[in-house]
Structures are given as C-alpha cells and as structure tokens.
Symmetry: C2
Subunit: 229 residues, 2 copies
C-alpha cells in the first residue's frame, strides 16, 4: 500500500444536500434573500433536518447562505458594494495566481493554454457565448492550478462559486467581448515570457473590466439584505 489513500468518492448526505442546494441557488430557483424553510426543504430533498442543517452550515461557510439565530437561513444577497469588494478581491487573487504561475509554468502548460486560446477565439468568432464562458473559465482555472498554491486555489474557488451562484452576469456587448479576448491573448504572451509582473497587471485590469461590466448592470439596484463577508 502506498500513501495514495483516496477513498471512493461517496458523498455524505449533508454533502449531497449541500450540492443540491448549491445547484438550486445557482439555477435561480432560490433567489438572493430567499429564506429557507427547513421542513419544506427536508421534504423536497428527502433528508431529515439534521443533515440539512449541516448542509446549511457548509454553505454558510462558503458565503452562500447567512444564518440568523432563531430565524433560519437565507440566501445571501450582495449589495453593489459587496459585489465591488468581491471583484476587487478576485482581481487580487487572480493577479497573485498569475505572478506565481509565471514563475512555475512549463512549456506544456503554455502549449495547453495556447490551444484553449485558439478554441476561445473560435467561439468568439462564431458568437458561441456558452462555449466562450466554459473555455474562459478553463483558462483561469488552469492559471490557478499552475500557480501551485492550494490555499489560493481553495479561496479562489470559493469566491468564484459565490459570484457565480449569485448570478452576476455582465452586461455583455461586442466591444467588451473583443477587448476581453484580446486581453487573454496578452496574458498568454506574458506567461510565455515568464513576465509575472506584467501578467499580474493584466489580470488585475481584466478583472477590473469585468467588475465594471457587472456593476453597470447593478446600477441602481436596491440593497436587499446585503450582507458582509
């Protein structure tokens, strides 16, 4: 026996419930601010209250739910300010990832990213937004992986899940899209040149643009129970 003791991935009941809830939030069945009734959800998910409550705790830890004492859990609703802070943080995390990635990247990694870039540009050319999103995400995930810091990866994933789950979509238009694709090309070049500072800068700017696009769509949105974290 060697040390690779990875048990067969068997979801525990609370984990499964959390996963299902996460999906319900992401799909927009449970909207931001919605309060979660334990008994109702128990019936819907077919689990009893104990594991459901453990699922609540997990999602609260991920920042998807807030739990108010004696008043149950509700889906977080980020205010404009909260969103601004979250994207600002994302910029910092991605910038750090880029910097580290530049220091550790291999030729194979670069080749893989170039392939993704080609696919991304093809999706862009044929206006295939879903594919574009998928590849975009793959590129950012790869950068993060290449950075080789699990603490970063964990933090990044959690924050990313939060932003995705809360349905922040940018106000898409052709000019911004073209710009984003161009930025990605520059990133790969900076990475290939192992220029960490430049890559960091590009990523921070890239996220800043995304932040602006998202904030535009939230222009005069009410606070709706906006909460910290």
């Amino acid at each position: 026996m060697d040390g690779s003791n990875i048990p067969i991935a068997r979801l525990t009941l609370p984990e499964a419930a959390a996963e299902r809830l996460r999906a319900l939030i992401t799909e927009g069945v449970l909207l931001p601010g919605a309060k979660l009734n334990e008994r109702e959800l128990c019936e819907q998910l077919g689990v009893s209250r104990t594991p459901l409550r453990e699922a609540f705790r997990m999602l609260a830890g991920d920042g998807l739910l807030v739990q108010l004492p004696n008043r149950g859990a509700q889906v977080v609703a980020l205010s404009r300010e909260d969103a601004r802070h979250a994207f600002e943080m994302m910029g910092a995390l991605e910038g750090f990832a880029g910097e580290r990635a530049a220091a550790r990247v291999t030729e194979d990694d670069i080749a893989g990213l170039r392939r993704l870039q080609v696919e991304m540009e093809a999706a862009h050319a044929r206006d295939d937004l879903p594919t574009y999103y998928r590849i975009n995400r793959a590129i950012h995930d790869t950068l993060n992986t290449v950075a080789g810091n699990p603490v970063l990866t964990q933090t990044y994933r959690t924050l990313n899940a939060r932003l995705h789950a809360l349905r922040f979509r940018s106000n898409f238009n052709r000019a911004k899209w073209d710009q984003a694709v161009a930025e990605h090309r520059s990133m790969i070049e900076a990475l290939a040149a192992r220029d960490g500072a430049a890559l960091r800068d590009l990523l921070v700017r890239h996220l800043h643009a995304k932040q602006q696009a998202v904030l535009e769509t939230m222009k005069d949105q009410e606070v709706l129970g906006g909460t910290s974290l």
Copy 2:
C-alpha cells in the same frame, strides 16, 4: 426605527462551542492531528452532540478541523508545504491590503499608525515580546481595515486564525527582530507617501521573511496527516 438592526450579541450554543474548541486548539490542549471524540467533548463542553457537530462544521469551514466521513473530526496538521502555501497567500493578501490602504488612508489613520509604531519600537527596545506581538498584530489589522474591503478582511482573518491556532511561531532572534521593526518603519513611510506599489512590495517581503523564519523551525518535521486547503 432605523436600519441599524444589530441584535444583542448573544452567542448561540454551537457558536459558543466553536469558540471554546478554537481556544482549546490555540492553547495547544488539542494538538494538530488529534482526533476529536464527540461523546468526550460533549461531556467536557456540556453540550449535546447536535450543537457540537455544528461547531465542528464551522471550524472545518475555517480550516481548523478536517472531517472524515464516518471517522469524525480531527485538528488539521499542516505540512511544511501547507505552511509555505499559507504564508505565501498571506503575503499576497497583505500586499493587496497595503495597496488598497495606500489609496484610501487618511491623515488620522497615519497618525494612529505612527503612534503604534512608537509603541512597537519601545516594546522592541525593552525586549517585551508579548507587547510587540500585540502591537504588530494591531498594525496589520489596521492596514487591513484601512484597505476597506470586507471580503479581504474576512479572508485575512480566517487564514490568520488558522496560522495562529496551529501554533506557528517563528524561530526568533535579535537580527530578525531588528529587521522586522525596521521594515515596519518603512511601511509607515510608504503609506504616508501613498506609494501603494512600494507598500505592497514591503509587505510581501515582510511576510516572506516571516515565512522563512517559520519554515526554519519546521525544518525536518514529519507530515503528520498534513492536509490541503
């Protein structure tokens, strides 16, 4: 009624249990790698299993415990690598905090920090390590607060709690201490000059030094169930 609906801070039972457990971990009563027996802890803390388990989930979310399905919870034991990654991340977070703080700092903030710096140098001069630690922490916390990003603050606090709870202490010596105090002086100057890039750089380097000091003490320490996150 205005919107300041801050309820009287009344700790829920799971929160209280979590707090107590956190203390037990920080004080070293529960050592890294120790497995936590539910029944035992129930008796010790005077709560039943349900709230204790909720406390486990909370601490697991903070990265202080790992929960293995059907095998209970245990205190995380960070490997050398894990510690390296955590400190690297801390550097990135503090760097980001410094950058933002430089953009937002007020003259009052600077005055307050200068006062702390004087206190810190006094503690340093009289070899008062506990006070030094306390003020050091206050300075870093202030920088973080001035940065004005709650998402950052939350992440920073969680990671910091983890590093503290897991009892990472650096291999202290006079040269390193002198160096650290000098670095703090430079930081205040960079902040006063609103030079975000310089402050960021100083903080990253400062954390790197701390990382080195900690890693030295972990030189050839075994992995002991070292886990991710």
